[in-house]
Subunit: 285 residues, 2 copies
């Protein structure tokens, strides 16, 4: 990952530090894992998929840096460390996100071969990062948070579930799915393989989000107290708030099962992807 | 341009409006012109270069929206209209920039053919938009503005000129040069043609910037009063402040002449590019 941001001296030192701080921060690297495991599941080689793995992590890192900004989610901490704009400054954080976003496409376009693969992956990643997916989901998430007084009832409200899933399909799901897609494309996957991985990714992405919401409630991660406080302040709708904790847990199980079923007959090569789905589901406990 | 942002319904309406507001704002469209004129100069067709023209304008529009943000240059007006974050809000403006940046690569990657061209153009544009060019130049520009008490002396200071040119080479020049490069690549330009256009672009970019600084001083644009005030407040170094007005004007003439010389023997097909350089230079008067 570090080599991918070995910029020339034309990159100002402070900007370089802030990019490293943000991209190389501790994390699960779930999206790059999805790229590599999808490649493996489709019979390809990890090494060929590395540029795609790096690129999706860059998009993920950029989105975290911008989402944390004061005008957005206004988070001071990210995994126990000061967020980029807190550790550096707001202008630097905006520029870090911009630089990582551009760099993701530079890596894909210049390091993937042949050119058909590079162009197709650039188009797919740009779509997933853009106004109809990642950016659109964040815009709707902020807009939903700006409507106070609708959250924290215990009634199951189909409209709110629909809204919540629409946001997460774009904000989290799109990047999960394009990670799998890129990995599969590198391995020259068939249309049927791409479709099965997309089904897997859609359900996994949603499971991941429900688990995230459940972790906020159960307080099993270090910075959870703060996040719950902020989510309440921002009026964010969460799955436990809409469905209740137990129904949310059941939903995770169903989603993980459906994800695994999509690639159930893929044999050993896809076992790591199925294990990953189970792992994501078990983060609730 | 409008068709390039005809997003599906997954794009939230307010975000869509803000993207249109920012991309379709009145402007000179200098960078798309450079793309199309470079294609023409190298014997290609305008129609083939349209995706590249749209993409560079998207990068330009994104950079204006983010540069105007309160944490950056903090501008309320852009060409006499409220800036994106003033007309909408700060979060939306951040997301508009992000969406335009991603969309530029989607347009290039999905609309340029063949794939070799698409991949090469994506890599070149990403490099020009990134940490070592556009973003890096803006970071250094902000950092330079943060060092008060060094500007507005009339001494010619080689270090300051060097610093100023280093910033503008990346902040303005890189996008000028990549616009010409993309246009040339679409027309299958030779290495010699690419090199000549790069020389043209380097000098034109710098001339454009010196003229911009001169216009700030002479007040010949509507919103200039505000800009000068802000530049002073932010302590920005300008060419007239470092070189003096007359020497800056002479510098523009030399730069325009050198730009035109680079493509002097290209005949009629390159006449519009030479005319454009002269036009850029005459904006001082």
């Amino acid at each position: 990952m570090r080599e991918a941001i070995a910029f020339s001296d034309d990159c100002p030192p402070r900007l370089r530090q802030a990019i490293e701080y943000s991209l190389l921060a501790p994390g699960k690297r779930l999206r790059p894992q999805l790229v590599l495991l999808a490649t493996q599941a489709c019979g390809g080689q990890y090494a060929d998929a590395m540029p795609a793995a790096v690129a999706v992590e860059m998009i993920h890192a950029y989105s975290l840096v911008h989402d944390d900004l004061p005008a957005m989610d206004d988070d001071d901490l990210r995994r126990g460390r000061p967020t980029c704009h807190k550790h550096f400054d707001e202008a630097t954080a905006i520029l870090v996100g911009d630089a990582l976003l551009a760099r993701a496409f530079e890596v894909l376009a210049s390091q993937l071969e042949p050119a058909e693969l590079a162009a197709r992956c650039c188009a797919a990643l740009a779509q997933a990062a853009g106004a109809t997916a990642l950016v659109g989901g964040q815009a709707d998430d902020l807009a939903a948070a700006g409507v106070p007084g609708e959250q924290h009832t215990n009634n199951i409200d189909q409209t709110r579930i629909h809204q919540l899933e629409s946001i997460h399909r774009r904000k989290t799901g799109a990047l999960f799915r394009v990670s799998l897609q890129l990995g599969a494309l590198v391995a020259r996957a068939t249309a049927a393989q791409l479709e099965a991985l997309d089904t897997y990714g859609r359900h996994l992405g949603l499971a991941f989000q429900v688990v995230d919401d459940l972790l906020d409630v159960s307080g099993s991660e270090a910075d959870v107290g703060k996040r719950v406080g902020q989510d309440e302040r921002q009026g964010k709708t969460t799955y436990p708030a809409v469905l209740g904790t137990e129904a949310s847990r059941q939903r995770v199980e169903t989603l993980v099962t459906t994800a695994c079923q999509a690639i159930a007959d893929w044999g050993e090569a896809a076992a790591p992807l199925r294990d990953l789905a189970v792992f994501v589901g078990q983060r609730t406990k």
